[in-house]
């Protein structure tokens, strides 16, 4: 095992369950407990739970918190009531994505919670701090103080309300949250997720998270590792920072323009306005390979004449859809839906066609 890997509060539980562990974002994380397919199907058909305690929690507090968050975040946060959650990105001046994240408008005025990718916690915190000049805000990285479990799947509401007794969960619609408590500690109960299914993300103290995990295990909720977290988010058309997003990829290239409100000011806006008007060289597309062979990250995408026009970022034989599909960055001229391309898989070349990135019809509770 690599030195200096961090452990989440649930690390001992994963090891005791016999999970296959692997480094991810600096943490020693469970990849699978039993089988990626079984865990994936549990979430699509019933319910599964994930340890996502590695995610980062950064709080922005102060008189200028709203204008500051709106300045660093691509989505529009003004005009929403407390309890609203928004997805969006933080961009650099050149439009490259620092991170994609959730912004929670808290019930306490002038308080925002930013939930960021584990791999980017330190980078994000430094980036945010470097932008605070002229804003009266306090930025606090509380990532170590919070544990987080995601309960996902069609039976998630039933589990969260009946088994955990969090009846307030029923009133939440997708991308809203409420304040709750667990053994006297603050709890954030959020109807969000990264699977394409209905579900909840529960944040509380590490001790509380361990208790909740144990209760859910006793109830028979299937523990799910990062293996199926990736297959699920991929089918739902959701990007993963590091694969489909990076410092040198803009939201326009990644097809996330709908989360960038260009009519307001934010860092990187001018570049995105220009890219939207003039077009970008490469765009992220969905591809279906017309064979059982599986396209993998890094494989070349070719035009029908065999010229390289792109590269695969994530690819699987989709568990739910039973076909070989991938995300790929391709030259914009090749990105139209229905366009015929090819993917080089080891020694052979297979025909592929551009399809919608949301491969799976998501089932959110609107």
């Amino acid at each position: 095992m690599e030195e200096n890997l961090k452990k989440t509060c649930l690390w001992e539980k994963h090891v005791a369950l016999g999970a296959k562990m692997s480094p991810f974002a600096g943490f020693d994380m469970p990849i699978q407990y039993s089988s990626i397919i079984l865990e994936h199907n549990a979430v699509r058909e019933k319910v599964g739970m994930f340890d996502v305690s590695h995610m980062g929690e950064i709080f922005v507090i102060g008189p200028d918190a709203e204008s500051f968050v709106n300045h660093i975040f691509t989505n529009e946060i003004r005009g929403f009531e407390a309890g609203k959650v928004l997805y969006g990105m933080m961009c650099r001046e050149d439009g490259g994505v620092v991170d994609d994240l959730l912004v929670y408008r808290e019930f306490e005025p002038e308080h925002f919670l930013l939930v960021v990718n584990a791999a980017n916690i330190d980078k994000d915190f430094q980036w945010i701090m470097s932008q605070t000049d002229g804003y009266d805000v306090k930025v606090v990285n509380e990532s170590e103080k919070w544990g987080q479990i995601a309960v996902q799947g069609p039976e998630a509401e039933e589990i969260v309300t009946r088994v955990l007794g969090l009846e307030e969960a029923s009133a939440l619609t997708f991308y809203t949250y409420c304040e709750s408590s667990w053994k006297g500690e603050r709890m954030v109960l959020s109807r969000t997720g990264y699977t394409g299914e209905d579900g909840f993300e529960i944040y509380t103290s590490p001790e509380g998270i361990i208790e909740i995990w144990d209760i859910l295990i006793r109830e028979g909720v299937v523990p799910c590792g990062l293996g199926c977290r990736d297959t699920l988010r991929f089918e739902a058309g959701l990007p993963l920072y590091g694969d489909e997003l990076a410092d040198n990829i803009t939201p326009v290239m990644a097809g996330l323009g709908m989360f960038c409100k260009l009519e307001k000011e934010f860092i990187g806006r001018d570049v995105l306005v220009k890219q939207k008007a003039e077009g970008v060289k490469e765009k992220l597309v969905g591809l279906e390979v017309l064979d059982k062979a599986i396209p993998r990250a890094g494989y070349d995408v070719l035009d029908p004449e065999g010229k390289k026009v792109g590269v695969v970022t994530t690819g699987y034989h989709s568990i739910t859809l039973d076909k070989s599909i991938c995300f790929a960055f391709v030259e914009t001229s090749q990105a139209a839906l229905g366009n015929s391309l090819q993917v080089q898989i080891r020694k052979k070349v297979f025909p592929a066609v551009v399809i919608k990135k949301r491969f799976y019809q998501t089932k959110y509770r609107k």
């Binding site: 990626i36 293996g227 062979a293």
Partner: protein
């Protein structure tokens, strides 16, 4: 603990070989299938293709990753296990019962360079 069968030959890259005359029947070990997890696709050569010892002849794909298959012997593929086309999970269910290819060996002396069951058990450290 992974299942290892006495009487088979084993490669360092986790293929097993069963010898029937001058035919080598090749599959992957229990250890390999466990490491891979759910196998979703087996990329196999067609009958008539030539394979070379220690060179790639195909691949196993799990949900998560692709892993090359290396031929333990040199020769010509005489048969591939077409059942794995539609049911790649058979490799997980019974890795020794579900061979991948049969190879007519060009140089059976190459078999001497492979490990026996005991040697393979030592190598995987179980």
């Amino acid at each position: 603990m992974s299942k290892i069968i006495n009487g088979l030959k084993y490669s360092e890259t986790h293929e097993w070989v069963k010898i029937e005359g001058d035919i080598a029947i090749i599959g992957v070990t229990d250890y390999a299938q466990k490491e891979m997890g759910d196998i979703t696709y087996v990329d196999m050569p067609d009958a008539g293709e030539v394979v070379e010892k220690e060179e790639e002849f195909g691949a196993l794909e799990s949900v998560k990753a692709s892993s090359d298959l290396f031929s333990p012997v040199s020769g010509t593929v005489v048969e591939r296990n077409d059942a794995l086309e539609d049911a790649p999970e058979l490799v997980n269910e019974d890795p020794y019962g579900n061979w991948i290819i049969k190879v007519q060996m060009r140089n059976p002396a190459e078999l001497d360079e492979l490990m026996d069951a005991e040697g393979y058990r030592d190598m995987i450290g179980e």
